[in-house]
Symmetry: C2
Subunit: 358 residues, 2 copies
């Protein structure tokens, strides 16, 4: 990174990812450009999400919206984890209040082979163009992202969102060699896509393995960890912070550490200091306020946020975030006050909030 | 319990709940009467679930169906966690492929008071009649059950199934006194309902706090644990095993132990021996095969089941079960073979399966 504080560039987020000293704990929110934000609803209207992602000017505008309302320390590219699959020609649709729906689910070796051939020549230039435009506008780091192979595979196999992931699990256990091919194919896709984003200018990348917490540790080790490790290993030489996130991953945290990211994102189910211990204090951590709590009155949000900060205990390498994406019903004011609270209470030199029980 | 083995009554399940020696590890399945079973689909047809629960002959028949197919060591009363709320006159409907839907969600102090007055005179006689009829038929123990206050409250507040429980959490944090009233009301309802089931003849009870794993440990302690402990404490003198179950509860297991059940049910995310350590080996454990794995070919099911048995390591107090209810797409044959496998491999005097890694 060649940005310095005196250039007006706020590098607090990147420094925390590298576990370097920071003047304040950095904060951003997963899905900070989302339906909770009136300007986002205005921009969105009846537009198709994938079409928005494919239109650089709109993706840029959506990325910038939350930054005009709150002093978050990072921007995250407005996009969707299905974008590279749609770019590979798959029949993908993001249905409002449903989520990604796949026209022809992938459930056989021949369908995996076809996916492999389709992903070989991927055109994600609208995404890369948006990144280029954003870098000219931003004075905070830009985060790029991709869905992780397991989470992408779950949509491809189930055909859409799933509660129990039964087809996915039956597939991995029933046809392990085909599963490995699928993970390899998606792993290559994710690696290529993230590298392209980094070369286009993103200053950090996050891999969303949102649903991997549905697996037990044995299955994670056998069916997910090798591909995930390959992705993070393959990006190491590019020198940008790599974040690894999932929901409900309490039992998987030591394994996610093994996958090799610089920062591990955790939801709210594990107290931050316990999660950090499982990950190892030599890796940075991102989280972990319950997004549902942000719908409560401010006093409750404040109390829970202060607990997170107490548990972080001023250690190097904490990026404040929610434990999952911002929910549509969240009052904007709660997030605005949250950004201020985190910045105020972690101002270097102020009394560390250490009183009270963890 | 006055049943003895030589009366033809199989008390293996009750003995395991009390951590007494057993000739084989007992096994039953949550939702063992469900759509995976052809006879159940036949019985169900277009019938309304709540209507089935209110008709003793049908509830009895549904309870017995799986026992004609597999030598499970317990029967669980065919019912639904919404039954006592429907009996209290609430507008509840179980919509196919959706779940419970509440006509008028409960979101204010006055609505909680109205719920209190409604639940004061509860008529659950059809359920109690079904229990009486079943006890004449069964040669295995009959399990009664209720939804736990948190899980019931989540349906009442959200108005139906929820992914993020944001209204529930906003309510508990925003109006803690009203929340406490709601939990007290539901706690009294659950206590009354379970005691009535026990008096009618059920030989064990399970409290389903299915969705409580959505809470962090702090919220569990403040908003859930006191009521749950009251329920289990209040049932202790009745002398039947009390089972406490939830999904995604890895971080809550030590607190669930504090709630005081005799048996804690665990999903598949935590390896059985680790879960047991968190609960304490002086409490029995129920679980923990991933129900989604049961949709895979038998070899995979067998391998995973043997891992569960290895981790149980022949300790007193293991009830084999899935980590959640049987999924509709499960091949019946897999469950039949699973029952045989558990019984065969845990036959007292046979070599304990201790080889291989845990």
């Amino acid at each position: 990174m060649d940005e310095t504080a005196d250039s007006g560039f706020n590098d607090r987020f990147l420094r925390a990812c590298r576990r370097e000293p920071v003047d304040r704990t950095p904060v951003w929110f997963m899905r900070q450009s989302g339906r909770y934000l009136p300007e986002y609803r205005q921009l969105r209207q009846d537009r198709d999400i994938l079409e928005m992602c494919r239109t650089p000017e709109i993706a840029v505008e959506a990325t910038l919206l939350p930054l005009r309302r709150m002093e978050v320390d990072a921007a995250i590219l407005f996009s969707d984890i299905m974008v590279p699959l749609a770019a590979a020609g798959l029949d993908v649709e993001i249905r409002p209040s449903v989520g990604p729906v796949i026209g022809q689910p992938i459930r056989s070796a021949s369908e995996v082979r076809r996916l492999r051939s389709r992903t070989a020549d991927l055109d994600v230039s609208p995404v890369l163009d948006a990144i280029g435009l954003l870098r000219k506008e931003l004075s905070v780091p830009l985060i790029g992202f991709a869905g992780a192979p397991f989470t992408l595979a779950s949509y491809l196999i189930e055909g859409g969102p799933s509660r129990n992931f039964e087809r996915t699990k039956a597939f991995m256990h029933g046809e392990p060699a085909t599963w490995d091919d699928l993970m390899g194919t998606l792993g290559d896709l994710v690696s290529y896509y993230l590298q392209a984003q980094i070369e286009a200018g993103v200053q950090a990348v996050q891999v969303f393995d949102s649903w991997v917490g549905a697996l037990d540790p044995d299955d994670y080790i056998r069916f997910v960890l090798p591909t995930t490790r390959d992705i993070f290993d393959g990006l190491a030489w590019l020198g940008v912070p790599r974040i690894h996130f999932g929901v409900g991953t309490g039992e998987l945290l030591p394994l996610m550490r093994e996958a090799g990211a610089d920062v591990v994102g955790v939801d709210w189910r594990v107290p931050l200091h316990e999660a950090w211990e499982r990950i190892g204090f030599d890796v940075a951590i991102q989280g972990n306020l319950d997004p549902a709590v942000c719908l409560a009155p401010w006093d409750a949000v404040e109390a829970k946020a202060l607990v997170v900060l107490r548990r972080a205990a001023g250690r190097a390498g904490h990026v404040f975030n929610l434990g999952h994406g911002v929910l549509p019903g969240t009052p904007l004011e709660n997030l605005q006050r949250l950004v201020e609270l985190v910045h105020e209470r972690t101002l270097r030199g102020s009394a560390a909030p250490t009183d009270g029980r963890l």
